[in-house]
Amino acid sequence: MRRENVKNSPTNYGFIPYLCSLKKLQSMSRVITLREALGEAMSEEMRRDETVFLMGEEVAEYNGAYKVSKGMLDEFGPKRVIDTPIAELGFAGIGVGAAMNGLRPIVEFMTWNFAVLAFDQIVNNAAKTLTQSGGQFMCPIVFRGPSGAAGQLAQQHSQTFESWMANVPGLKVISCIDPADAKGLLKAAIRDNDPVCVMESEIMYGLKGEVPDGDYVVPIGKAAIRREGTDVTIVAYNKMMEVAKEAAIELEKQGISAEVIDLRTIRPLDHKTLVASLKKTNRMVVVDESWPFAGVSAEIAYEMQRYAFDYLDAPVVRVNAADTSLGYAPTFVEEYMPNPAKVIRAVKEVMYQKA
């Protein structure tokens, strides 16, 4: 699932006015991996602001369990790049306290599955510090790590957390694997004065993309149209973007023009971009690795019937992970995960065509 031929990719940076400047910047750019892009985002922000520091399991001496923080200990030293014991609840809480007291922590979870231990601090404290203190204390903290299944890792290591965190008022949630955008979004998250949960992807860290040189941020809360189309809108985020894009290419061959939207931010949801696209295509499929019940796709379907009811030519159809825990065998992974074939089937359904 590499992003092929970056130069000619249908990424529509012109669609969102802000990104025009990003397009210009691209004259000076390099092709790097998502892993490197995220590492650059952290390093640049740490150079820019000495209150920013990184903390988590294996982030320093081991250079990160997935090597995202490679080289950061060497550059910033052990005061600012800190290996923690395996104590998610404790170090997330230490992050919250440090954020309340003037620092800007980046807390890395080896994966979001382990952040479950820290939900108390994220949900009960980070998300509520500002309101509880009547606006006196803010909590500018970033919680980041991979979310979603990564092959045959079985039940406890395969979960998707976007919809969990997006359910919580007080938190912002980013989930994007496009290297350039992920970098700009992470930088925005570090500068943001609210707590931000950043969802990455274990199996996408090696994804390559063109990343602009120099300092830039991508604003939180804006979706991106990656491919323009007229017949149906496919909405996705994180590694489901690769599934959506693959499906769109196949649909093109079958004469169906799909518009593909990358949410990039889950909370706040950019429903305006979705509604605008739906008004054009009148049909929508959501590809969402989170479980169906009360997931991101459920929220999008609600927003569409609420704000674009008269434009819908068919009910919004979603393609989710199965409504089960994920078992280890390859046959379970195949059954569980959204894939291009399932997306194409859903598109045919909203177009009232035979599969």
């Binding site: 294996e58 014991p85 395996i86 382990f114």
Partner: protein, 342 residues
């Protein structure tokens, strides 16, 4: 047995137990060693996928589990668990088939390397969330006390897991309520790439129990006899209703944390130092040099286990994958649970 480069130092030793005990230790430990070596081989062939953490180096604990506790006692541990499951008496076929993700696996291909379970063997599983099994094992012990048995729950965790807050909550309640739990910290010196010395001011892991006045011992985890004896002392204390017991078992993993870890954070010398005390070889040598059993008897055990593990690989290879639709089995006990499928 390719793991040991040089022959172990011969230690002065005395023969304290009967022949069956020594042979049980050797057989259990050799089975684990062989099983794990074949596991690594199958992983390199991509027959086994995902995270895979082997027990090579820590076999003395498996050996002692086979002799130091009763079948009715309960056991729960983390993801480094193949050896523990085998020590409980689970058969190589169903364990290997599980690693291959086959429907004949001990959990029907649902769990893979990190999650074996067997109700029949009182094996409460491999847990993938570091430290989660510490309170769970405490609860399993709680239920034994509640039901009025004299069984206990062996609750195993790594040195890394010992830094989770859950340990302290569990230790405190177990001591307060005098629960029948044998806590075992398998201190193999590293949690992934993090040495114990970098995780705390208290690097003497045995002290973690002392702060709750829990009887606590440090044990030489390269010696199956030492571990066995510690189990017997602990079992006596726990079965008498005196509450939990804690062992810090000092051991070592020869391999990286998981198959994908090159283990660059430690020295070759350190590894060699432990290999010289290799529990499988030390036990084998003692059996021969002290005339506990003959070389032929040892060779016969080796041949039998080698054949058993080979046959387990064939069994795994030939077994079918579960059907994708079986993903919907066993998520709820309720048979007609209404899953969302569109």
């Amino acid at each position: 047995m390719s793991e040991v480069a040089s022959p172990p130092k011969s230690k002065k030793s005395i023969v304290k137990y009967d022949k069956t005990t020594y042979l049980t230790w050797f057989e259990t430990m050799y089975r684990v060693r062989r099983f794990e070596e074949k596991t690594l081989f199958a992983y390199s062939q991509q027959k086994i996928r995902g995270f895979c953490h082997v027990y090579i180096g820590q076999e003395a604990i498996a050996g002692a589990l086979a002799t130091g506790i009763r079948p009715e006692d309960k056991v729960v541990t983390a993801y480094r668990q193949h050896g523990v499951a085998l020590a409980r008496g689970m058969d190589s076929n169903s364990c290997m088939a599980e690693l291959y993700g086959k429907s004949t696996g001990c959990v029907k291909g649902k769990g893979g390397s990190m999650h074996f379970f067997s109700a029949a063997h009182n094996y409460f599983g491999g847990n993938g969330i570091v430290g989660a099994q510490i309170p769970i094992g405490t609860g399993i012990g709680f239920a034994e006390k509640y039901k009025g048995t004299d069984n206990f729950c062996v609750t195993m965790f790594g040195d890394g897991a010992a830094r989770q807050g859950a340990l302290h909550e569990a230790f405190n309640m177990a001591m307060t309520w005098k629960l029948p739990v044998l806590y075992i910290c398998e201190n193999n010196k590293y949690a992934m790439g993090t040495a114990v010395t970098r995780t705390s001011n208290v690097v003497d892991m045995v002290k973690l129990g002392l702060s709750y006045d829990m009887p606590s011992e440090q044990v030489d985890g390269m010696s199956v006899e030492a571990v066995h004896e510690a189990f017997l002392r602990a079992a006596k204390h726990i079965r008498a209703g005196h509450g939990p017991y804690y062992l810090e078992i000092q051991t070592y993993r020869y391999r990286g944390h998981s198959v994908s870890d090159p283990a660059k954070y430690r020295s070759k010398e350190e590894l060699e130092e432990y290999k010289e005390q290799d529990p499988v070889f030390v036990t084998q040598n003692k059996i021969i040099s002290e005339n506990i059993a003959s070389q032929e008897e040892i060779d016969a055990i080796i041949a039998r286990i080698d054949a058993e593990v080979d046959e387990a690989m064939d069994f795994a290879e030939q077994s079918p994958y579960p059907l994708g639709s079986e993903l919907y089995d066993d998520n709820y006990v309720q048979q007609d649970y209404p899953y969302i499928t569109d």
